[in-house]
Amino acid sequence: MKSIRRGQHLITIMLLVFLLMFGVLIYRLQTKAAFYISHSSDMSLGKVYDRRGDVLFDPKATAGTYGADYFIDVGNLIGDDSRQMTNTLVSQNRERLANFSFMLGEQTDGQASVCTTLDHTVNRRVYDRFGWKNGCAVAYNYVTGEIYVCFSKPSVNILDHYENIDSLEDGSLLCKVFYPTVPGSTQKIATTLAALEHMGYETLMEKSYSCIGGYQNLGGEVIKCHKDAGHGIQDINEAFANSCNPWFAQLVEDPGWKLSDIEETYHSMGYNINNEDTPQTIDVDGISAFTASTNLTDKTDFNTQWGCMGQGTTLVSPLQLMVWQSAIANQTGVATMPHLIDHTVSVSGKAGAKATTAYGQHRMFSPENAAHMREIMRYNGINRYADLLPGSVVAVKSGTAQIGKDKTENSLLTGFVDDPDFPVAFCIVIENRVSGEVTTSQIAATMLQELKTALDN
C-alpha cells in the first residue's frame, strides 16, 4: 500500500502544480487584460485632454463637432486609433485609454481618459506662428518635467482619416521633436560643457583664440567662420555668443585636453559615439525619442572638429537638446525627464495618481559646471536675446545646421528662462530657413509670452 500511496502523492503533486499555474493564469488575465484588449483593432477608446480640458483626441470626433483643423497641431503627437502612426501618445497608451475592465468587459460609455500636460491653445498659436514654414517646437517645465508645447510641421489632420495620405508632405506622420536632426551650433553647449569638465572653469575662461574669418587646423583643413571678417581675439563668452567656429576648432585642438575627455562628457550626456553603443531612446510616456550620436576620431581631424560644432554626422533630437537645458538651468547636472501625461482616469471614472517628476539616471556634468554653463548662456541671452521675454533673462544658444547635399540650412534655438516662477526650457527648429523669413527667436518670443500668460492665468 505504501507504493500505491506514493503514486497518489505523485498525482496530488501534478494536480497541485496545474492548479497553481491555473491560478497564475487567472491573475495574469486579471492584471493584463487591458493590455491584451488594447491590441484589438475595434476596442472602444477614451479621450485625451490637454491641461485645461480641451480635447486632443476623441475617437468619435468629426469636423462638425470640433472644426475641420482642430487637431492639426497635435495630429502626429497625440495621433489616433488608426495605427497609421505608432510613435504617438494614443498608439502607445491604448491600454490606459481602453474603456474596458476584465470584470465588466468592454464599456462603450466608459470614462477612461488621459489628461496631458499640454496647453492646446498655446501649442496652436505657436504652430500657427510658423506660418508656411516647417519645423518643430517643444517646451517644458524644467523643474517638474511637464511638457507644455510640442508639435511638428508638417502635421496630419486626423479628421481626414488618411484619405489624402498620398499627397501628405514628407514627415507629416511623425513628430520631429523626437527624431534626430543636425544640431548646428547648439552642439557648442555640449562641447563647452566638456571643456568645463576637463579643463576647469578658470582655465577655460583664460583661453583666448583669434578668428580671422577662418582657421587652418593641424590637419591642414580650413574651418570657416560665418563672419568673413572674423571675430578677432575672443574668450569663451564672446566665442559662444558669436558662435565662432574657428575659435571652437582651436578649443578642440587645444593641447590641454584629450579627445577621450570630450568623449567622456558626450557619453555621459547620452551620445552614441562612433556607433559603439546600442542606440538608446528617451521614453516620454511610451513615445520613443532617439538619443544623440556623433563620430569622433582625432582632435586634429576636420570631421571631428566639425562634429563638435554640431555639423556633419552629429545628430541630436530637439527633445534631448531641451532636456539638457534642465540640467544647466537647475544647476544640478541631472536632467529632468519630460512627460506628457499628467494623470489618467479609469473606465469607472476614478482618477489615477498624478505624474511625478522623474530625473535622469546619472549626473551628466558637475553642478558647478552646470552653473558656469548657465552663466555663459545667460551672457548670450542678455546681450543678444533680451527681448524674448520682457522682464526675464532667457539663456539661449542658437544654431544653424547644414542639411543634406544641397546644404540647406535649418535654424535652431534652444535655451531656458532663468526664472524660478516660470521655469521653462525649450527648443525650436525651423527647416530650410532663409533670410527674411520668420526666425526662431520670433517663435520663441511668441511661445514664451503666450505660455507665461496662459500659466499665470
Binding site: M1, K2, S3, I4, R5, R6, G7, Q8, L10, I11, T12, M14, L15, V17, F18, L19, M21, F22, V24, L25, I26, R28, L29, A33, A34, Y36, I37, H39, S40, F100, S101, F102, M103, L104, G105, E106
Partner: protein, 437 residues
C-alpha cells in the same frame, strides 16, 4: 467501500442542471438565427444525456462518478462546439456528437480491457506490437513527415492512439520490477529497458514528424513511470541517485532546448506582441478574445475567435473564455480535474493500476497545461488539443479510452482466471490474487 461523492440520483440531477443552465444561456445570450437552431441543439444534448444515463445504469460499476462526469464534460463540449461563431448544431456540433459517442464507447472499452491488472500486464508484448504497428502506419501512410493519415477527406492521427498504449507499457507490477539484470554498474529490470527503448523510438518519431507538441505529454507519462519505478518498495534507490537522475533529466532537457529546430526555437523565444499579425497572430487573437470575454463572456456564438484558425482545437480554451467567460471555462477545467481526483477518492488496489492511473493523470495534466497555458502565452505554444473539449475524433477516442483506464483502477477485477496462471500455478504468489502491492 467506494466513494462517489454524490448519490446516483443527485449526480444525475446535477448533470442535467448543468446542461439545462447552459442551454438557457444559449437561449438568452446566444447568437442563433432561428429558434430551431437551439431546439436541435437541445434535443442532441438532452438525448445524449438520456442515452448516456441509461447506458451508465446498465453498465453501472462500483463507481459511477467518472461515467457521469465524462457525460457531463462531453455534453458541455458539444454545446461549446455547436455555438462557436453562431449556434448551428448540424454544421458545428453533429461531428462532435459522433466523436463524443465514440469517446463513451472507447471509455467502456478501456475499462473492460484494463480492469484486470494481471491480464492486461500479460498482454504487454502485444501492446508493444500495437505501438510498433502504429509507428509503422505513421511512417508509411502519412505521406511524409506528418502525423496525419488522410483517406477520402477523413483524417486520423495515429500518434494519439499511441498515448494509451504508452501508458499501459509504462505501468508495471512489482514482479516485473524485481526481475533485474546487471548492466555495467546498474541493476535494471528488463521491463524498464524495454520501456526506455520504446520511449526513445516514440521520441524519435515525434522529432522526425516535427510533432514536438505531443512530446511533453509522452515525457510526462514516462517521467511518472520512472518515478514510480524508482520508488517502488525495496528499490534501494537512494536520494543521491534520484538527485543525479533529476540533474541528468534537466541536462537532457537543456540539450534538447538548444538543439531544437529553428521553428521550435522561434516559438520558445517568441514575443507574440512584437509580431501580432505574423507568427504571434493566433495567440494574440486568443488573448484578446479572453480579455474581450472577461468573466462572463460575450455570449455563445458572439465571439470573434471563431474566425481564427484552430479556434475549435488548439485555442479552444480561449474561444470558450471569449464566448462563455472565464467562469465557464474555469468550470470546464474544474470538472476535468475532479475526474482526475477520483483516483484520490478511490485509490487503486494494485501497484499496476496505481502506476497506470498516475500515467493517465500525467497525460491529461500535460495536455491540458500545453493547451491552456500555451495558448495564453505562459509557455511555448505547441498546438495540442484540450482533452474532451477540442474537436478531433482521434483525440476524443483516446481521451475516452484513458478515462476508461482511470475507471478501471477504481473498479478493478481480481477474480478473473488468467490462462497463463493455470499453466504455471507455482509462479503465482498467493497475495497477488488481491493485489501485488
Amino acid at each position: 467501500m467506494l466513494k462517489n461523492g454524490l448519490r446516483y440520483g443527485s449526480a444525475i440531477s446535477l448533470l442535467l442542471l448543468t446542461h439545462l443552465s447552459m442551454l438557457g444561456i444559449v437561449l438568452v445570450r446566444g447568437n442563433y438565427e432561428t429558434p430551431m437552431d437551439l431546439v436541435w441543439l437541445a434535443v442532441a444534448v438532452l438525448g445524449f444525456d438520456l442515452v448516456g444515463i441509461i447506458a451508465a445504469s446498465i453498465y453501472r460499476q462500483m463507481t459511477y462518478t467518472l461515467d457521469l462526469m465524462l457525460l457531463a464534460i462531453l455534453n458541455m463540449s458539444l454545446i461549446f462546439q455547436s455555438c462557436f461563431g453562431g449556434v448551428d448544431f448540424f454544421s458545428n456540433g453533429l461531428k462532435h456528437l459522433i466523436t463524443s459517442a465514440a469517446a463513451m464507447i472507447a471509455c467502456e472499452l478501456g475499462f473492460l480491457l484494463t480492469r484486470n491488472h494481471e491480464w492486461i500486464r500479460m498482454q504487454k508484448k502485444y501492446i508493444y506490437i500495437v505501438i510498433g504497428i502504429l509507428i509503422l502506419a505513421i511512417l508509411t501512410l502519412t505521406g511524409g513527415r506528418s502525423m496525419w493519415i488522410t483517406f477520402k477527406g477523413f483524417s486520423i492521427q495515429p500518434s494519439e492512439f499511441i498515448k494509451p498504449c504508452f501508458v499501459l507499457v509504462c505501468a508495471a507490477s512489482i514482479v516485473e520490477l524485481h526481475k533485474k539484470i546487471k548492466i555495467l554498474f546498474f541493476y535494471v529490470s528488463k521491463d524498464t529497458l524495454c520501456l526506455c527503448a520504446a520511449t526513445l523510438v516514440i521520441f524519435g518519431l515525434q522529432w522526425w514528424c516535427r510533432d514536438l507538441g505531443s512530446l511533453p505529454t509522452f515525457a510526462a507519462i514516462f517521467g511518472c513511470a520512472l518515478v514510480c519505478r524508482l520508488c517502488y518498495p525495496r528499490a534501494k534507490i537512494n536520494k543521491t541517485a534520484i538527485a543525479a537522475m533529476c540533474v541528468g533529466g534537466v541536462l537532457l532537457a537543456m540539450i534538447a532546448w538548444m538543439l531544437a529546430p529553428s521553428y521550435v526555437q522561434d516559438r520558445l523565444h517568441a514575443d507574440i506582441w512584437a509580431d501580432q499579425y505574423g507568427k504571434g497572430y493566433q495567440q494574440c487573437q486568443a488573448l484578446i478574445g479572453i480579455a474581450r470575454g472577461g468573466w462572463l463572456g460575450v455570449g455563445p456564438g458572439n465571439g470573434k475567435l471563431a474566425g481564427v484558425f484552430a479556434h475549435e482545437s488548439d485555442i479552444v480554451f480561449c474561444t470558450i473564455c471569449e464566448e462563455w467567460g472565464l467562469l465557464y471555462a474555469g468550470l470546464t477545467v474544474v470538472i476535468i480535474l475532479i475526474m482526475l481526483t477520483t483516483v484520490l477518492m478511490n485509490p487503486p488496489k494494485s501497484y499496476y493500476h496505481a502506476t497506470m492511473s498516475a500515467g493517465v493523470v500525467a497525460a491529461f495534466i500535460a495536455q491540458m497545461a500545453l493547451n491552456i497555458f500555451g495558448s495564453c502565452d505562459m509557455i511555448p505554444f505547441t498546438g495540442v488539443t484540450l482533452p474532451f473539449i477540442s474537436e478531433g475524433g482521434s483525440s476524443m477516442v483516446t481521451c475516452g479510452f484513458l478515462v476508461g483506464m482511470l475507471k478501471a483502477g477504481q473498479s478493478p477485477l481480481f477474480h478473473h482466471e488468467v490462462p497463463r496462471r493455470k499453466k504455471k500455478p507455482q509462479e503465482k504468489p498467493p497475495v497477488r490474487r488481491r493485489a501485488d502491492a
